[in-house]
Amino acid sequence: MFFTISLYIALAIFGVGLLYKVWTWFRYKIDIDTRNISTSARFFAAIKGIIRTLFSPKIFTLLKVFVLDILLQTRILREDFLRWLMHMCIYCGFMLLLLMHALDEVITSVLFPDYFSTINPFMFLRDLFGGMVIMGLAIAVYRRFILKVPRLKTNAMDGYAIIIVAIIIFSGIILEGTKITSYSTYQQMQGDYLELDDEQELRALESYWVKDFGVVSPNLKGPFDTETLAQGKELHEMSCAMCHSRPQWAFTGYGVARIIRPIALGLDRANMPTTIWYIHFLACLIGLAYLPFSKMFHIFASPLSLMANAVMDKKKSDPANIATRQIMELDACTHCGTCTLNCSVGVIFEEIPNFNILPSEKIASIKSLAAGKELSEQELKIIQEGVCLCTNCYRCTVVCPVGINLQDLWFNVKESLLQKGYPEFLSLSPLSYYRGLMKEEVVKDKYQEPLDRAREAIVAECELMKIMKMGDKVLPLTSTDRDFQSGLSLSAQANTFSACFGCVTCTTVCPVVANYENPQEVLGLLPHQIMHSCGLGLRDLAFGSNMLWDCLTCYQCQEHCPQGVCITDILYELKNLAIKQVKEKTSPLMEKTL
């Protein structure tokens, strides 16, 4: 009764969870372009796409992916043999246990009519599969907790996954061990299956089981004489051997039985086998019920992600399906960290401790975004910075073991975040080059806006620039900012600006200045003027000029300076300081939150 009811409850939660998760695939959105495609439209587009793919030559691609990437997991193997071994052990071991042991009534006993869990090969295989899972778990623990891989993060969900699998397997093994030693189980079996009245015969069989089958009896301890054992063996072969192989074959359970031998009687009296059976059974049900909400959900989502990505094409596929796939991919992520370990900018995390720089951690933030969770301005800015700090090198996408198209995901998330209206200063760096190349993918009137906003945000913090903007050429008396003057020392170019004697060579050779008829109108201060304002300690003027952000860093000015002023390096430094200043003023919390 308890068994049936709790099983059905767990199955119901599992089923509802599964449906809920699949429903979110069609409901959640990342891409702005697809905001107006309805859930039902996306659902039917997916059905149509799936049917069309199944009845096309693409079915062969799917089959190939199924065998190589899903069953054999060659993508993990390519990355790291140890991890492949780990995953294969857990995944094969657990799957086989599920099919042979957990579903024995439905599968194994149908396929093999003389199936009993206590005879070989089934008894041995059960322990072998369990042993495989344990080996996999050991590698997982070693990789995550002992081997200190830089920037590989382990979160609560990774811990849960390891713990639930460990509880299921170890409780199973302990259960097996206690049952081997259990005298009450022995007695019960004897009562159920044997019609023996003869005291001597009963003693003989029990002796045989105590000696060779690990049963711990309160009455008989041995050593036993050969005659009794021979008689016991005969009785055993007549009545028990059909269903019982020697317990040594269940090597893990038998190991436990050997260890607990001294306390076995006590355990048996305390009805331990039943208690452990409840633990084992409930752990399985919790694992099942919680599966759709845990990282174990990747069992379903990852194969789908691999297959979808193998047959979908950004240019040809229905945008509705691409939107759906991107949400599904978030569930496919196993948080294995492969992307982060290969990330081109992962090392930057050591200087800028924003978790969202690391691809594997970005996914969690994107999940919140996609689910429409209310995030604070600070949180959004932090995610935006993480998503923008990317060189678009595609490495994460190439290595992802579950085939998630991370590059497209980052691009879409970045664009939708940039539309939220917070300035992003990284868009004023070469990191924007890729966005320029992808111009066609960005909604036309949304392309320029983030770039202007970043510049405006910087100028907004420069009081003197505002006065200049108003057309007032006379600046109020401003005191020298000595901290600023002496602060220009990052790149060992300290104070070279003070050697400037105003020959204007830098401005003359600057190709950006040369591009405009009236450069000051467009660029604000020109290079030599910026050097001069550094000398005067007028930080606002130096920070607020467009010249800073329109600098090509071509080093013509620096190369030609007769005084050896490191102009380009100073401009770099001014950019660093300007961004730092604006960030400190507008998002003082951001550094703290990080």
Binding site: C343, V345, I348, P430, L437, N515
Partner: protein, 291 residues
């Protein structure tokens, strides 16, 4: 002769033909290349944001190469400029070196300044040499006029990058002329391609690129030649966008140097990836004289 090949972020993702052609050419010339999978971004794109971050990113690459005791060969000039700058800083500035190494220490790395950073062109010119290079030329170009685009970050700041004479460089021209092509004189040869501002200020970036294209065309060039990922993307992918957007008629396709050299060395077209360029360059083969 063995180097750690530094590809950077753009080449594997957007310019595969640069990698395959460079590997092809260097392989034929007996230059050994070692791949270090752990290499990361050179730091160039984050230099606007934060100096230390820039140094750390670059220094990690130098440390990885030093661990293998290999000099570093960069294909991209922006990577080259960044790596050179940080190499210089790490060698000269003891306190910075100490600070950066303390961070690298976490993953068992450190940089002591024991290696050199080189560019593809400097390896071909100084290490391989024009003589041995000439011996490998099978088919010479005839009547082909090439405008060499040096790229800023390999020339300047000359004290740091030490590639060639910053005012009158000649390495690239000599390397082009080995193939039988003529390297023409053009006014804006040493100017910037405009790439650093693409995505930041597109109009300005396009102005600067167009200026160079017009000059190259007017100076009689048939093709531009580059040896940098950003310059090549600017003159190839972005030029294509400029042509579509501004409808101007500067059409001056750009070929990567190892593609040009590879053609004259008789390398397979597949390896050179001629078809992978955005603007077609296969017309250049008409200038080849097969011996």
């Amino acid at each position: 002769m063995k180097f750690a090949l530094f590809l950077g972020c753009n080449i594997p993702a957007r310019l595969e033909q640069y990698e395959s052609s460079a590997r092809g050419v260097l392989g034929k010339l007996g230059v050994g290349l070692v791949d270090i999978k752990e290499f990361n971004c050179c730091g160039y794109p984050v230099r606007n944001l934060d100096f230390k971050t820039f140094v750390l990113a670059s220094a990690r690459n130098l440390a990885l190469a030093e661990k293998k005791n290999l000099d570093l060969l960069s294909l991209c000039k922006c990577c080259y400029g960044s790596l050179k700058k940080v190499d210089h800083l790490m060698k000269e500035d003891a306190s910075l070196r100490k600070e950066i190494n303390a961070t690298l220490e976490k993953e068992g790395l450190k940089y002591e300044g024991g290696i050199e950073v080189k560019h593809l062109l400097s390896v071909l010119y100084h290490e391989v040499g024009l003589g041995p290079l000439k011996e490998k030329i099978k088919n010479s170009f005839e009547g082909l006029k090439i405008a060499t685009h040096y790229g800023c970050h390999v020339l300047r700041p000359s004290q740091i990058v030490q590639f060639d004479n910053p005012v009158a460089p000649s390495i690239f021209d000599q390397l082009v002329e080995v193939t039988g092509a003529k390297s023409i004189f053009w006014q804006t040869k040493l100017e910037c391609c405009g790439a650093p501002l693409w995505g930041v200020n597109d109009d300005l970036s396009m102005d600067l690129t167009e200026k160079k294209l017009t000059d190259g065309k007017q100076s009689g060039a048939d093709y531009l030649c580059t040896a940098c990922s950003y310059c090549q993307m600017q003159f190839d992918t972005v030029q294509k966008m400029i042509l579509a957007k501004r409808g101007t008629n500067h059409h001056l396709p750009s070929i990567l140097y190892p593609q040009l050299l590879g053609l004259s060395m008789g390398l397979n077209r597949e390896i050179l990836g001629l078809e992978k360029n955005q603007l077609p360059i296969s017309g250049i083969e008409d200038f080849l004289v097969f011996s």
